[in-house]
């Protein structure tokens, strides 16, 4: 059970009460300066402990494998309840066409924003930024995003997604 540490800072330089951590020893004469110094050391110890334990937190997920569907998706922040499924890439009449399957894992309807970025073989854009497009996906729906490249020079793409 976590203990709530209640701070009562009267004035800087004076005693800080931390009843949950423990009581600092008081000299026979009850010197307030010694008690204040003891409290400061306890604060520093708590801060150091918090820093150390934060290092034990879950490590960040490994980056997606190059060429996989996940590596083509650039999420602007956390993708809430949108799962990316299969992707289909084809070249029709010289223009790259992409189809991406999306699934709304929530029961509620959701609006998200997306756009495609079209890249050359070196990974640099071959066209101007597209407009952000709003899309409604119903609760539990499996839907498809389809797009065509603006120029035959595009050989790769990225899907930028943002869920508000």
């Amino acid at each position: 059970m976590t203990q709530v540490v209640r701070w009562r800072l009267k004035k800087i330089g004076q005693t800080v009460n931390l009843p949950s951590i423990g009581v600092c020893p008081v000299t026979r004469l009850g010197q307030p300066q010694e008690r204040s110094l003891c409290m400061r050391f306890k604060l520093i110890a708590v801060a150091a402990f918090a820093l150390l334990t934060s290092g034990c937190a879950t490590p960040p997920p490994s980056p997606p494998a190059p060429g996989s569907a996940a590596s083509k998706v650039v999420a602007m922040g956390e993708l809430k309840n949108i799962a990316i499924g299969n992707m289909r890439v084809a070249r029709e009449n010289g223009f790259m066409t992409v189809g991406v399957q999306l699934n709304n894992t929530d029961k509620r309807n959701k609006t998200f924003y997306y756009r495609f970025a079209w890249l050359s073989a070196e990974g640099f854009p071959v066209a101007d930024d597209e407009v952000w497009k709003p899309q409604l996906i119903y609760g539990g729906q499996n839907s498809f995003l389809q797009s065509i490249a603006p120029t035959p020079k595009a050989v790769d793409f990225r899907l930028e997604l943002q869920t508000p």
Binding site: G13, F95, R115, E130, I148, P150, P152
Partner: protein
């Protein structure tokens, strides 16, 4: 002592935040925004609608394979059948620009630019001011093989809780000689305001 040092550190941090080396001039209540952002200021026809329509129509036409060998296309004005003011010429200008950039078509002078084209030809040929070898000769303009025309309409429904506007933009490519429509597509947009 510790308290005084921490006070000084906090003060120094606050003061350092006031240093501004950004290359801007003017007040902070005006800022540049993203021209590609989704605009939902009102539910009337907006920048996002224009951009989505132009992008969708252009990509569909370019990828359809109808425009083989970079044919010459004449673009006509889009008919505005909605109840609001929409600068439809901007829609066709965006479509022309994107098609030109994709390299699939060339465009003949449309009805707005035709007068300028005629004036320039007359000036070069009839004024006697230009060197004969540099003059553009009359009778050499390339005629359009296709013509591109479209329309935009809207359906507006209102209730006490909702205002719903449904736009439908349709565009078709017609062979000038045969009169046949070789390609057609439409884009639908719904904008709803919840009161």
């Amino acid at each position: 002592m510790f308290a005084r040092v921490s006070c000084l550190a906090v003060f120094a941090l606050l003061v350092s935040g006031c240093v501004d080396n950004s290359p801007t001039l003017g007040s902070n209540n005006i800022s540049y925004g993203d021209p590609r952002a989704v605009e939902t200021v009102t539910n009337e026809f907006g920048s996002t609608d224009l951009q989505m329509i132009a992008e969708s129509m252009t990509r569909s036409l370019a990828q359809s394979g109808v425009l083989q060998g970079r044919p010459v296309v004449q673009v006509y004005d889009v008919m505005n059948k909605t109840s609001e003011y929409i600068d439809t010429r901007e829609i066709t200008t965006s479509i022309k620009t994107q098609l030109m950039k994709s390299g699939v078509a060339r465009f003949a002078s449309d009805n707005t630019a035709m007068q300028s084209q005629i004036d320039q030809l007359k000036l070069q040929n009839q004024s006697g001011l230009y060197k004969k070898s540099t003059v553009a000769k009359t009778g050499n303009m390339i005629a359009a093989k296709y013509r591109l025309e479209g329309s935009i309409s809207s359906i507006v429904k209102r209730s006490s809780d909702y205002k719903d506007v449904f736009y439908k933009f349709s565009l078709q490519l017609i062979d000038v000689e045969s009169g046949l429509a070789e390609w057609m597509d439409e884009k639908e947009i719904r904008k709803t305001t919840e009161r």
